[in-house]
């Protein structure tokens, strides 16, 4: 049997990806990487911490406790044959999982006996076990995990800033939840979330490495329950996500928190609502925002030079853009001896940078840098699998990012700066040493 595939090729990267779609809605991708010893697979669902309220396939509306997507990730590791990590470890394979704002990913890697590991990956993701006693036991482990994050100034300030930026949108929810919210999680709710979001049509399996494509796809088709059946059987509209209306204004201007740290930390944030959720618009918005922030605050910028030379910013200073579920946010900052002065300086800069525009020379130089960084990332099998999947969830082919990059103009970025960096609508989070 040969499963029909679509081929996507990038001449810039000299890479190809084959796609097989199954009637159930599951999409399987394969990127051949001859000569590599590592083989890597990730099985992902377009489901993360922002999916906190939804209408179930059966039709009822459900609001779930914070941290449940991450809890579900932990739950899937407990199978009838024991903990999945043990099973992978017994074969010498590497495996892990991660929950983000919008996705949950299960992955494995090995050089030897890869297909056996892939089979295990498919089996445990597709065959969850919901046992109340296991769920109770997991609460202790996750609580310790949360307490570890609570001691990390980087994570505390990042999540704290999002809480300040967003009033209702679930982007403000800590991915792992809190000890209080996870206490309310039970096996029934976990099961309902699984049914809603682990439907084949909401999932992508990506494999990369030195493998034979027909053999691989046949193998997957024979082992994955998700390749059989049709999406229509489960209802084409399997679940519907509900996001509250988020006001344009930030929720809270500032929070200050004392922690056991050596140096204060300032994160300054700007928010956007109504940002694109799919396709080229999504990618263009994402890339242009990152590009604009790099021009304004990156290591080659005048702002970074001035802040570093006046010792207001240190080596870790930087800016990044995050987006998902219709909202976006820019985060600027880092460790600083003078957090209030840094915030004021950044806001003043935001004002002038909005008016000043971008120099042609800077634009061209940074564009070369972005292209180089994009090419470099294809050294990594994990990057290829992870980012290709992430973009597919947003109906876009990662390979086409280069085209989007080439379409970004100086004017695109100037517009991005004006919209994003509103000096009258910002929030900050400050960490001070005890």
């Amino acid at each position: 049997m040969s499963i029909p595939t679509k081929r996507s090729y990038s001449a810039t990267l000299d890479e190809e990806v084959l796609e097989a779609s199954f009637p159930s809605g599951l999409r399987v991708f394969f990127c051949p990487k001859q000569t590599f010893r590592k083989k890597y697979a990730c099985y992902s669902t377009f489901y993360g911490s922002v999916d906190s309220e939804f209408i179930e396939p059966a039709g009822s509306r459900l609001k779930v406790p914070d941290g449940i997507a991450h809890f579900l990730e932990h739950t899937l590791f407990e199978t009838e044959d024991g903990n999945v990590s043990d099973l992978f470890a017994k074969r010498g394979a590497y495996n892990n999982a991660a929950t983000s704002f919008t996705t949950t990913t299960y992955l494995c890697a090995s050089s030897e006996r890869f297909l056996e590991n892939l089979e295990l990956l498919i089996r445990f993701v597709e065959n969850p076990v919901f046992r109340p006693d296991k769920v109770e036991k997991e609460k202790g482990i996750i609580e310790q995990e949360i307490k570890g994050y609570d001691d990390s100034p980087g994570w505390v300030s990042y999540m704290g800033l999002l809480e300040n930026l967003f009033e209702r949108h679930p982007m403000r929810i800590d991915i792992a939840g809190t000890p209080d919210t996870i206490r309310n999680i039970d096996s029934d709710t976990l099961h309902r979330c699984y049914r809603a979001f682990y439907h084949p049509s909401n999932m992508v399996l990506f494999v990369v490495g030195d493998l034979e494509s027909n053999e691989l796809l046949d193998f997957i088709a024979a082992r994955s329950r998700h390749t059989s059946g049709s999406a229509a059987a489960a209802g084409p509209e399997t679940m519907r996500r509900i996001y509250p209306d988020e006001p344009k204004a930030v929720h809270r201007a500032e929070t200050r928190k004392e922690m056991e740290v050596a140096l204060p930390k300032l994160l300054l944030g700007f928010k956007e609502v109504g940002v694109p959720e799919k396709g080229e618009d999504f990618v263009l918005h994402d890339l242009a925002s990152e590009f604009a922030l790099e021009l304004l605050f990156g290591r080659s910028s005048d702002t970074f030079r001035d802040l570093y030379e006046s010792q207001m910013a240190l080596d870790d200073f930087g800016a990044s853009y995050g987006m998902g579920a219709g909202v976006g946010f820019a985060v600027v900052g880092g460790d600083t001896p003078r957090p209030d002065e840094l915030r004021q300086t950044l806001l003043d800069r935001a004002r002038t940078l909005r008016d000043r525009g971008i120099a042609e020379e800077d634009f061209e130089r940074e564009k070369r840098k972005f292209l180089g960084a994009f090419i470099r990332s294809f050294n990594s099998l994990e990057f290829i699998a992870g980012h290709y999947t992430y973009f597919k969830f947003h109906d876009f082919d990662l390979f086409r990012s280069v085209d989007v990059l080439s379409r970004i103009t100086k004017e695109t970025l100037e517009e991005r700066v004006r919209t994003l960096l509103d000096p009258d609508n910002f929030a900050s989070f400050v960490i001070l040493p005890k």
Partner: protein, 429 residues
């Protein structure tokens, strides 16, 4: 074993003046990686050596400030520059890395690699000098930054606890020095003296330069040679690198407790074993550590985390130059005694030979897989090559895998019996 192609390695070219150039040509990478390590002894120069990469990255003669450097690298299609300061046993290494896109992927562009190599050499050897010393203002700023970098170890409680355990455990050995140096040394660093140290460093300290990518090996070797030995007259070599560190017998284990306002307590147990890369028991030691706490199938993870829910994280890790082992865990403060008891019980069970065939097989497979996947990561491969080379162990991955697969249970037990519990460190509230 199935017939996989021979593992990649680096071809070495030894040049006068303690300069070693190693080249690997491969089809896997879309970039060319240049990794240059300069080695010295871990001693009272630690703080001054540690500040060198920071001050060198502030400006060169041709690119006199941070922005000029950053913009030059952006123009080379975002060549990525990093520097690292770390300990390898009681050696102190400064490592500079430059990763530049292979120009095959950017049509119409020529000379990227040559420019990148020239720049790296310039960065390491030709700093901005004012009146015979480093730029005084840059130096004062980097001194302040270094002080902060040392102090902010505190922000990562797990790393802080591991370092504190080392400080306590090795207080009478050079190994107790933190790789970034000591806060109390910083004030006295002088621009001219530091520049003198830098001159000695760049002329005399042994240099190991690794280059990997889809390049013609001979051309890459010639290019790297001309760049790094360019100032051949400048290279003197002859730095006296110390031998392997000595081992110490532990009289009795000690306990150190430190209080801080933390949510999760950090527990670190330090042991000595004395096994290094060139030791006949090296492979047995790797297996012993893997079975004890290196992986998620390990005894510690299974018994402390899974069975008892006593912690979120627990692992053991090896120091393979001085011969140490650390067990680190994040626990609830009230579980301290219980956690220590269970951890030590697991160590004792290893010494008593309570190791199953299944545990051995799983750990062999895990290490084999990781070792094979190393073949795709040329930066890591260079690091392993260097560590072995410094121990006069020939870099032969196939031989390593053969030895690993043939380790017997009694050799693992013997490796476990080398463990001497030295220090228990607890960071708690």
């Amino acid at each position: 074993m199935q017939s996989a192609p021979a593992p990649p390695g680096y071809t070495h070219f030894q040049l006068p003046g303690d300069l070693d150039i190693a080249v690997n040509s491969n089809k896997k990478m879309k970039t060319v990686l240049v990794s240059v390590s300069v080695i010295g002894n871990l001693n009272e120069t630690v703080t001054r050596m540690a500040i060198l990469p920071s001050i060198l990255r502030r400006g060169t003669r041709r690119h006199p400030d941070l922005q000029a450097i950053s913009r030059y690298l952006d123009g080379l299609y975002g060549a990525s520059l990093s520097s690292q300061v770390f300990k390898l046993g009681e050696w102190h290494l400064l490592r500079f890395r430059l990763d530049v896109v292979n120009e095959r992927f950017v049509p119409g562009v020529n000379g990227l690699l040559g420019n990148a190599l020239e720049f790296l050499s310039e960065l390491m050897r030709d700093p901005l000098v004012v009146e015979g010393g480093f730029h005084p203002q840059y130096l004062e700023q980097e001194k302040a930054n270094q002080r902060r970098a040392i102090e902010s170890l505190l922000d990562n409680k797990a790393a802080y606890a591991e370092n504190r355990c080392i400080e306590e455990m090795c207080s009478k050995e050079p190994f107790h020095l933190f790789e970034l140096g000591r806060v109390e040394d910083i004030e006295a660093i002088d621009a001219k003296e530091l520049r003198e140290l830098h001159r000695r460093w760049s002329r005399r300290y042994p240099v190991h330069a690794y280059l990997a990518g889809d390049v013609d090996p001979a051309a890459a070797r010639d290019l790297a040679t001309s760049v790094f030995a360019g100032g051949a007259a400048e290279r003197e070599g002859g730095y006296a690198l110390s031998g392997p560190p000595s081992t110490i017998r532990v009289a009795a284990p000690r306990e150190v407790e430190e209080r801080m306002d933390v949510n999760q307590a950090k527990l670190v147990l330090g042991f000595r074993h004395g096994v290094t890369y060139s030791h006949p028991s090296y492979e047995a030691l790797l297996l012993m550590n893997g079975i004890l706490g290196g992986y998620s199938h390990s005894k510690l993870f299974q018994n402390v985390r899974e069975k008892e829910s006593l912690c979120y994280s627990i692992h053991s890790s090896l120091e393979r130059v001085k011969g140490l082992l650390f067990i680190s865990s994040g626990i609830a403060p009230e579980n301290y005694r219980k956690a220590v008891d269970i951890i030590l019980k697991n160590v004792e069970s290893m010494k008593a030979g309570q190791i199953t065939d299944e545990e051995i097989q799983a750990t062999i497979l895990t290490i084999l897989n990781a070792n094979e996947m190393l073949e795709d990561n040329f930066g890591a491969l260079a690091d392993v090559d260097l560590a072995w080379r410094l121990h006069d162990r020939p870099f032969d991955l196939l031989e390593f895998r053969r030895r690993l697969t043939n380790v017997q249970r009694d050799e693992i037990v013997a490796a476990a019996r080398l463990l001497q519990h030295d220090t228990t460190y607890l960071l708690t509230r």
